[in-house]
Symmetry: C2
Subunit: 225 residues, 2 copies
């Protein structure tokens, strides 16, 4: 096996071991955890803000933001009412399970119903690193174009949920919704898809209802254990 491939394999195996530990921690704390992956500017932080607006009076929500160098997104999440923490990756292009493990030490997870992890804005690298979260949520946006599932298959293959954001821009840009949906479905027959506008608030009630239903499921399973 060539050296470089061996090194990458070792890094990923080590990551998976820590991700499994994170997962156990989330299960024990009975907390729903989401890993948000998207291109820069697709609207991850706006989605976090809107989710907090809809749900922060019903749920106890924590947010962890991965960013290369700034705390801008964390400040937005905190302002919107979350217990928010920043991971500065120091130039790294993705979060990994160890970074998240260290960040988790700053929370008492039992105090929360929902943890949203906002990954670094990147449609390639984050999808290779399992964080141990329960669901991976890919945020796409209409002005990025309808070809993204075809061009970034690894990311769409691993998505449990796809959010199609900025649908309010549909009248102004060429975007073939059928082609986008076909691309997602070619790779991933199971992913839930929600169309939203984080700018105007459209469609977010369905996304938030899905979150609430998943938390209810988690809690029911807990009671039946």
């Amino acid at each position: 096996m060539p050296n470089r491939i061996k090194i990458i394999k070792n890094i990923l195996e080590s990551n998976d071991t820590i991700a499994a530990k994170n997962k156990d921690r989330f299960l024990t704390a009975n907390i729903l955890t989401l890993n948000l992956i998207a291109s820069p500017g697709a609207g991850k932080t706006s989605l976090v803000e809107q989710t907090l607006k809809f749900l922060s009076n019903k749920l106890r929500i924590a947010v962890i933001n991965g960013d290369i160098s700034t705390s801008l997104d964390t400040e937005r999440a905190a302002k919107a009412g979350a217990s928010a923490l920043q991971i500065n990756t120091g130039g790294e292009c993705h979060l990994d399970a160890l970074m998240l493990q260290k960040a988790l030490d700053n929370f008492n997870l039992g105090d929360f119903d929902l943890l949203i992890v906002e990954n670094v804005g990147n449609l390639v690298c984050p999808s290779s690193f399992d964080l141990g979260t329960q669901f991976t949520v890919v945020v796409a946006s209409v002005p990025e174009g309808d070809d993204k599932p075809y061009k970034y298959p690894g990311t769409y293959l691993n998505a449990d949920v796809v959010i199609l954001n900025k649908i309010d821009l549909s009248p102004y840009v060429p975007f073939d919704k059928g082609n986008f949906y076909n691309g997602v479905r070619l790779l991933n027959s199971a992913a839930k898809i929600f169309e939203v506008s984080c700018l105007h608030g459209d469609g977010l009630q369905y996304w938030c209802a899905w979150i609430t239903s998943q938390i209810e499921l988690l809690q029911q399973n807990r009671y039946h254990q």
Copy 2:
């Protein structure tokens, strides 16, 4: 020095050695070379199409597209009139100098005035890998938001040119142009900035005039050698 950092340092040093060879090849062939870096969906391929539309009757243009798995962008460049070649990175999140070196063997560089290298859609990783091209062009787009220079400083720091695309969407999304320009200028006082709409054709004449002037400069220097 920790092992991982040493490995990355070795990879980058080896990359720089090959990039220097690519650079020599470009100088010898007297060809202008551009490395396009952007988020997925910012409009790199649309910029290539528009540039070809404006310049392909005056200049001999080649395009090399980096993509994780598809040849969609290369097909668009070929359709727009370029001699186009695809590099499939096989999942890699950026082009490196060696990938480009191998691709160059498919061209007689002396037959062209301009080579546009369209990097993988990623605002983080490509900026670490010099390809040996003369100019790095970062394509931003209005719907991505005005905070991108602050959040992806490595990419903006290394830009020779910043294209702000999709200015036609300005009326429909919050975008503080002053904040965007300040972010670019904080990192980079020298970068040329062009505002364009690749969808409607606005502003592209200035970008194309800049390309033409750079090629004239190259050729003048050549005559004076």
